[in-house]
């Protein structure tokens, strides 16, 4: 199975999105913050990362910068309630493959995962 790493400090959000992603047939890994996400990424090499931006400690943007330095081919999707235009522009410049506003629905998530990882 393709592995998807979900990074979010909110337990509710992780559980909600884990349910959606698992239902689509992917294996789900979870991290509650940026530091943990980097550690899991190095060990598990997931096929795609879905990350929140607003997190205590290492926030989403900082984590993305660090991850892409470690592996420029990492596929990262931002899933955030902060959907300001400048955020989307920053994300694009960094090399993020998609920016999804929270809350997202199953159809949209399925399309993004399928387009960047292929079938589960």
């Amino acid at each position: 199975l393709k592995k998807i790493l979900i990074v979010d400090d909110s337990i509710f959000s992780r559980q909600f999105h884990k349910k959606l992603v698992s239902k689509l047939g992917y294996e789900v890994l979870e991290a509650a913050d940026g530091e943990a996400a980097i550690a899991i990424y190095q060990e598990e090499k997931p096929d795609l990362i879905i990350t929140d931006l607003l997190m205590p400690g290492l926030d989403g943007m900082e984590m993305i910068g660090k991850l892409l330095k470690l592996d420029s081919s990492a596929k990262i999707v931002i899933l955030s309630s902060d959907k300001q235009k400048f955020r989307k522009e920053e994300a694009k410049k960094l090399g993020v493959v998609e920016f999804l506003p929270k809350p997202t629905d199953e159809e949209r998530l399925a399309a993004v995962l399928s387009s960047h990882t292929g079938e589960p």
Partner: protein
């Protein structure tokens, strides 16, 4: 659902609401808005003022809401930050030290737009119908303001309060979004969202 997960769930909803509010504010001001991680308390109603830690005198723009969930949404800015926000919107507007009637009307309108976006996010997430009341602007100290607000919440012992700080970059001004819910309404929101996880 465990209490920790319940509080986390409400924080996430407030974050989504704050994201909508920040997006709108960014469009209005043309500036970047930074959202901070929210703070949340389940406290006695009388403790709101001390827990919220809002600095002295400022502008409180509030909207009661009712329907599938009842509560109050608030936008607070210190008097100085309200003036900074208004200056950033109306470059040619000469503002006196005090906040005059025209400024109050502008704050009411801005507050209405922001709070509507904030509450709509909660309504959408819970798949309920929520109607917003008329926005009110009060210039007051935090202590006096909350003492008056508590009159509306006086039959409740415990309230759930959540605070999101948003910073308007370049203008160096901050604003706070607050959501006040009775414990009963908090449980109503959670029971709706429990079904989603």
């Amino acid at each position: 659902m465990e209490k920790e997960l319940k509080l986390d769930t409400l924080k996430e909803i407030a974050n989504i609401g704050a994201g909508e509010a920040a997006d709108i504010l960014s469009k209005i001001t043309g500036k970047k808005i930074k959202i901070e991680v929210p703070e949340l308390w389940s406290i006695k109603a009388a403790e709101i003022s001390s827990s919220a830690e809002l600095s002295s005198f400022g502008a409180f723009i509030s909207q009661q809401f009712q329907g599938s969930v009842n509560g109050m949404a608030l936008l607070y800015q210190s008097a100085e930050d309200s003036r900074k926000l208004l200056r950033s919107l109306f470059d040619d507007l000469i503002l006196e030290d005090s906040i005059d009637n025209a400024s109050t009307a502008s704050l009411r309108e801005i507050g209405n737009i922001i709070l509507s976006a904030y509450v709509s996010a909660i309504s959408n997430m819970t798949e309920g119908k929520i109607t917003l009341g008329i926005p009110e602007v009060v210039l007051e100290t935090s202590e006096v303001y909350f003492k008056n607000v508590l009159k509306d919440f006086n039959d409740m012992e415990i309230v759930v309060a959540i605070k999101n700080k948003i910073n308007i970059e370049e203008s160096d001004a901050s604003a706070y979004l607050l959501l006040l819910l009775s414990f009963q309404d908090f449980e109503l929101i959670i029971s709706q969202l429990e079904k989603k996880i």
